[in-house]
Amino acid sequence: MTQNACTAAEFTFLCPLPNGFHARPASHLATLAGKFTSNCILSNLRTGRTADMKSVLSLIAADINFKDQCRVRVNGADEQAATKAIQQFIDNDLSACDLPLPKLMPDGQSGILPRALRSIGLAAYSGFPVSRGTGYGKVVIVSDVALPPELSTESASDPEHELQRAQRGMERVRARVCENLSGQISAAEAGILQAHLAILGDVALAGHIQEKISQGRSAGQAVLEATEFFSSLLRKSESHYIRERAVDLREICHEVLKEIYGLELQPIAELTEPSVVAAENLAPRQLLHLARKEIRALVLESAGTTSHAVILARSLAIPTLIGVKNLRQLLSPGQEVVVDANRGLLIPEWTSPVCRYYERELSTQQSRQAALVRNAMAPAITADGRRIEVAANVSSAEELAPAFANGADGIGLFRTEMLFAGRDHPPSEDEQFEVYVQAARAARGQPVILRTFDIGGDKPVPYLRLPAEANPFLGYRGVRIYGEHRELVCAQMRAILRASAFGSVQMMVPMVASREEVLWVKAQLAQVQNDLRNRQIAFDPAMPVGIMIEIPSVAFVLDQLCEEVDFFSIGTNDLVQYFLAADRGNAKVRGLSNVKHPAFLRLLKQIVDEVHKSGKYIGMCGEMAGDLAHLPLLLALGLDEISVASFEIPILKERISRLTISASQSLLSKALACKGIAEVESLLANVSLSAPHAPLLDRDLIILDSKSENKEEAIREIINALYIKARTNDPDRLEEAVWSREDVYSTGLGYGFAVPHCKTDAVIAGSIGILKLSQPVEWGALDGLPVHTVILLAAPESEANAKHLRIFSQLARKLMNDDFRSQLVEAKDANAMLYIFNGRTCHREQVTLSIQNKRSRGSKTFLATNLRE
């Protein structure tokens, strides 16, 4: 709340922003102040820092934290109007600007070494993993953007000329950033470039440069000094987020200096071999310049989770650790290291056990991912036979190929507004047409849902001159701005319709609240169709038209809307915050804005049922759909399609095949009756997955000629095989379970055989894994002999299948049989092994498989049939 002590041109307030005055609120305020000619100065009364309110940089450098007392002073011709507007903004709108910072939670805790590496006494450093994966290579140490010191001796005789040089340099960098922005880049890169544009356009930065030049500095000196001035302010901030911005500022300065002096000031390391890049922090463009394919991992000493390099590394899927202290002491250039960003470890050596372990882990991950992706090429079908389409959400043409390579059944949401952002004029009809045709072609007949632009509110596009709003999420955005920008909408519709001649294109309208809006859009569409017909341009006259369900009102007039549109897609992110009246960006109420609220689940049920009553198609494209935990609910609701980020598709499709509609429906009816979010969450935490249709033992679980060199490696090798076949989703936990049994006493039963085993919920499907070692390894066996054959028995914790446990027990008994063991020893290939386990023999002598225990008689056929089931 603000406390206003008023004179006409001065007032004070308390900062209402829990995250402090970060870039977003600062840019809103700077835009507003920029509309007036008066000087607008904001003083942080806690720190004593003052800021030019027209400068974003200056505002964030004032380091204003939650509840800091601040004073605004306005001085100039329009001071009355300016004070009034600024005060109104601060009173009414400022707190609404506090969208969450782009904060990435670390992916996991810094962890412990895997058993196989612990056992050899390996040391490792820990860090926080912020982008998963493992990578190994040679260390390349990259320094912070270094600014040249020798400029200090440069002399400047003509301030006018120097100012021109500085301005031209800034302008060129600005042009280049704009050019990059309009190219094919990811959303993460676009966000970073936009932040850079804001710095380049900052009035205080420009003012500071100009001031230095007027004091006799050269263009380069002035840019350098202004940069040092602001970055030292930013670095003093108590907010990690703001400190990170100093890196961006230095990078911009570096780019400008390069333009002014026309040369490369600091050649960026070329990576010529697989490399692990280590740096205190890294500017985003530095990361982009490093040859992407040779970066195997990134280790940053002081970068935070909001660092642009981290955000970028994540979008480029580069395994990344942050917070590894004293990097320069720990590592030397050229040293071979492993970064395990799954477990949060930096392993500073490349000895053969480390190498073997991670090469295996890498190839395991690749095989597993390949298996998931291979399976994802098929439709997603539940264990009891219901199909659901799994489509991809994309924002640009480059995301199309990866989406289909990951098994997308179509594009469920193409956010076309990304084509409109980060530029100073809208994309032309032809430009859009090119992109939409690309999408239609890439889909090869599968549906592509193009959502007409959703601009406004929090997604400002300067050339549309949308007003600043008190409450952008309840304001002028989506379909609501279409009336005013009719030409733009019609150009987009023309582009979409023209693309519809090239594939299965569908059009979807965002932020619909009422039937009238739908009718208006349809009327425009009809005109555009007429126009195309007259000009004899091909399009699909039956192109389906749908709407987003984001506004709760829509849920209550679906009967009417079903008469007007062909399909619906639920945008859960907005729907849930409108429905529960809780802003997801507001930390105080974020907990309320939860899709697992029973009321929200009831709303979804009503929506899907109502749409299906009219025989129309309904999907979901919000974040709710991407969460594996929600899948049973979505399946039970009966959604025809879910649309998610494309990397999520393979694992989602796999999970769908492990769920049944029947079990999901009973879960949903329980969830609908739950009395709170926590109850629903505990229901979802206990969903049991049906085991894959696989026998206990199959060919892929038999490893011959294993090169494992010790017990730890051997156990992990079999567990990896189970992981590849999706018989476990958590190999580390499975390994711990096996070892907690192994640590009681060795499972080496003698005669060169070991039977490690466990019963744990980390196992999805009961499995037998067999490993024959080229070189027997020490196992601490009962007879002291090394082990050559390892048989892993893995049972799920809730083993409902007593048949599996019976087979394990029968197998255990048979291992006491000398003939059975010698057959296993003699078996030369996986087939021979399977024969033996299936109760047959491919050898000359017939082997008695009968078991002495009378109660188990008849087990020969039992074993045989069940291993093959």
Binding site: L805, R806, F808, S809, A812, N853
Partner: protein, 99 residues
């Protein structure tokens, strides 16, 4: 000699049954008659009856955990060994009984 035995281990997936098989095999070789009750993940199997127990000269517990229904063995001579002993050296256990 008529012998009864119980095998049991913590996980109850493998060793319970290996020990049972080994005891049965060794007893046969030595000419004893044996019945082994397993207490594993499948529950109690091949359960010893009252008459099994009353006719037995000795009961072997090859166990790493608590034996269910221990009170059934009142009045019978009990030899209790760690389960791995039955796998490693079943013969030794029988020798101990006779000696």
């Amino acid at each position: 000699m008529k012998i009864v035995a119980v095998t049991a281990c913590p996980t109850g997936i493998a060793h319970t049954y290996m020990a049972a098989a080994r005891l049965e095999k060794t007893a046969k070789e030595l000419g004893h008659e044996i019945k082994v009750e397993t207490q594993g993940s499948l529950g109690t199997e091949n359960a010893l009856t009252e008459s099994d127990i009353s006719q037995a000269s000795v009961a072997i517990f090859a166990v790493d955990i608590h034996v269910e229904g221990r009170e059934r063995f009142k009045g019978v001579k009990i030899i209790e060994v760690p389960l791995q002993e039955a796998i490693k050296n079943a013969k030794g256990i029988f020798e101990k009984i006779q000696g």
